[in-house]
């Protein structure tokens, strides 16, 4: 940053002329990606969501027809409902669970490294692997249900993957297994940054530890919580691989997700218009998460 200040010294002009072309050429991939892919492709999709595109993209504009059809499709409505339920529950659970794990690990435990390795390793695996493992554990014949029945409790039922009412809970088990470790590690890092004096002060005042956590420490950790929230939330919107591997949307349409709707519309059903409209809705929802956060973050920075 201060390099620019330095460059603003007398020799500014010639330097711009001679040196900067190389930097601009070097930064060309970034410029192209920003302009062509992130802005260009997004706009292209948004624009084409107002067309009659079917097998091929068309330029015949039909207004909001695709959106009307989209919001009249049962499968899309189910996808939106599923992601709303899954999203809220997953967000709350991973923040709460992640914080509890982080707080426990912050108690100067022995073998902290081992615990950290254990809670974070699923994060290194792909959603496909995660989905297949949990599919196996939740398999009604061989998994948990089968074992408990084998113990003699014949009527025991635990088959969340094949019950439309519980399939999202099954997905949650797998999703939390994969992602909570990351939240815990982020929050643990933030906890390590909390001033020791706060603990000393609350001890002097005789405040119980849990109260200190809730009323003092959590507010201090707000930035870390915000980061974790944005990470989880944007990850949830994109949720695709896990559904494909774990349930493939089933049973019926009980675990369909918007990202899967987009993929199926574009590549299986030759219904591009629906895919464009659905993905535009996904973009809108991300913006609804992102813009308040950006205002909060950058507004805060300016004031500070």
């Amino acid at each position: 940053m201060s390099v620019t200040d330095h460059a603003r010294a007398p020799a500014r002009r010639p330097r711009r002329l001679i040196s900067n072309p190389m930097a601009k050429i070097a930064a060309l991939p970034m410029i192209m990606t920003a302009l062509v892919i992130f802005i260009g492709c997004s706009l292209w999709t948004v624009v084409h969501s107002f067309t009659k595109s079917k097998l091929l993209p068309s330029t015949q504009f039909v207004g909001f027809d695709q959106y009307e059809r989209l919001w009249g499709t049962r499968r899309w409505l189910a996808s939106v409902e599923n992601i709303a339920i899954y999203g809220v529950v997953a967000l709350v659970f991973s923040l709460v669970l992640g914080f509890v794990i982080a707080a426990l690990m912050d108690q100067k435990v022995r073998a902290e490294g081992a615990f950290r390795t254990i809670i974070l390793f699923p994060y290194s695996l792909s959603f496909i692997v995660t989905g297949l493992v949990w599919q196996w554990i939740l398999n009604p014949d061989f998994g948990v249900q089968g074992i408990v029945r084998g113990w003699g409790w014949e009527s025991f039922t635990f088959d969340p993957l094949h019950n439309p009412d519980t399939v999202l809970a099954a997905m949650l088990m797998a999703g939390l297994w994969q992602g909570t470790g990351l939240v815990a590690v982020i929050l643990l890092a933030a906890l390590r940054g909390v001033d020791e004096d706060i603990w000393k002060a609350s001890r002097v005042d005789g405040v119980p530890a849990w109260k200190t956590y809730i009323f003092v420490v959590i507010p201090i950790l707000r930035p870390a919580f915000m980061t974790a929230t944005v990470l989880i939330a944007t990850g949830i919107v994109k949720l695709y691989d896990l559904v494909v591997a774990l349930t493939n949307g089933g049973p019926g349409i009980a675990s369909e997700m918007p990202a899967k709707y987009v993929y199926d519309a574009m590549f299986n059903k030759q219904n591009l218009g629906q895919g464009f409209a659905a993905s535009t809705m996904m973009l809108v929802s991300v913006l609804l998460i992102l813009i308040p956060w950006a205002i909060f973050e950058f507004g805060g920075k300016k004031r500070g």
């Binding site: 940053m1 900067n20 196996w136 659905a278």
Partner: protein, 306 residues
């Protein structure tokens, strides 16, 4: 809970000799903390345990046994079958094909994306030009755009370039979508290096590439390692781009794995499926276990600022 442990450790340091007593007092709390942590660990470990155990059993034992129980008779047959014989559609040459496809995709993608992103980060820190921060802002913002919004136009672009279905098309896609986080990583790292280095090299007459290769790269090995870990695991685990931008014969491992396990036809061989799942997870898992803190640093660098 915590205040107890703190008050007892402080006087201990002063008194010196009374080391044993406070420890005993703490144990109640400590046992609870360790108990909960162990329970949580169990939730994380058990699936891995189940995978390994199932993959080492023969099918007859899988059918009658408990998935948590260790195999009575250890067999590596499922692993061999998963690697060399498992079927996807008409092809029965196992996961090995997917593995080598993934290698062919991952290696060039990691190299290209790191080169591009490190040069970007360097230009952003040391050679700012008009609008560079704006492009960077768009790039970061792009990290949050759902891929689904951009996948179809990219199909068109790749088709125009003649790269659709080609490994190099997928490499390009990975380079593009890895760029935001990697550029951020490199930018933050280069910005933390003392500026005098850059100035001194300038005075000595080094140019854009000279400074980059001879001054910055040699002292940035840790961040290159972090970027590599981040990219290898990310690209190896990708499913969406692989399934869209490659042809079935070039499918990466994750896609092939899903096709093997979730195929409807044939008798399900759970032991082979678990072996296949483990083989696919082995690469990122070993990178994670070997790299330890660097892995955490990579995701934290991405996470905290992203």
């Amino acid at each position: 809970m915590v205040d107890l442990s703190q008050t007892y450790t402080a006087p201990r340091r002063l008194a010196g000799a009374e080391g044993a007593k406070p420890k005993r007092r703490l144990s109640g709390n400590r046992i609870m903390i360790y108990g909960i942590l162990c329970l949580i660990s169990l939730y994380y470990i058990l699936p891995l345990w189940v995978m390994v155990m199932t993959s080492l059993k023969g099918m007859p034992e899988v059918r009658v046994g408990n998935i948590f129980a260790p195999p009575v008779e250890v067999t590596f047959q499922p692993w061999i079958k998963a690697w060399a014989e498992a079927c996807t559609g008409l092809n029965c040459d196992g996961l090995s094909r997917g593995f080598w496809n993934s290698v062919k995709i991952t290696v060039p993608s990691v190299i290209l994306s790191i080169i591009v992103a490190s040069v970007n980060g360097y230009a952003l820190v040391n050679w700012k030009f008009k609008g560079s921060e704006i492009f960077f802002g768009i790039l970061l913002f792009g990290a949050f755009i759902p891929y689904q919004v951009m996948i179809y136009p990219i199909v068109i672009i790749l088709r125009e370039l003649g790269l659709m279905g080609d490994v190099w098309g997928l490499v390009l896609v990975h380079t593009i979508f890895g760029m935001p986080i990697l550029t951020l990583l490199f930018r933050n790292y280069f910005a933390s290096l003392p500026e005098e280095l850059f100035k001194a090299a300038r005075v000595d007459g080094a140019g854009f590439w000279g400074i980059f290769f001879r001054v910055l790269v040699p002292m940035s090995l840790p961040i290159f390692t972090v970027a590599m870990i981040l990219q290898v695991t990310g690209i190896w685990n990708d499913f969406l781009f692989g399934v869209i931008y490659t042809k079935p014969e070039a499918y990466p491992m994750t896609v092939q794995l899903n096709n093997i396990v979730n195929s409807v036809q044939g008798v399900k061989e759970y032991n082979v499926n678990m072996a296949a799942t483990l083989i696919t997870g082995l690469v990122p898992l070993s990178i994670y276990l070997l790299s330890g803190k660097l892995f955490v640093r990579g995701i934290a660098a991405g996470a905290v600022k992203g």
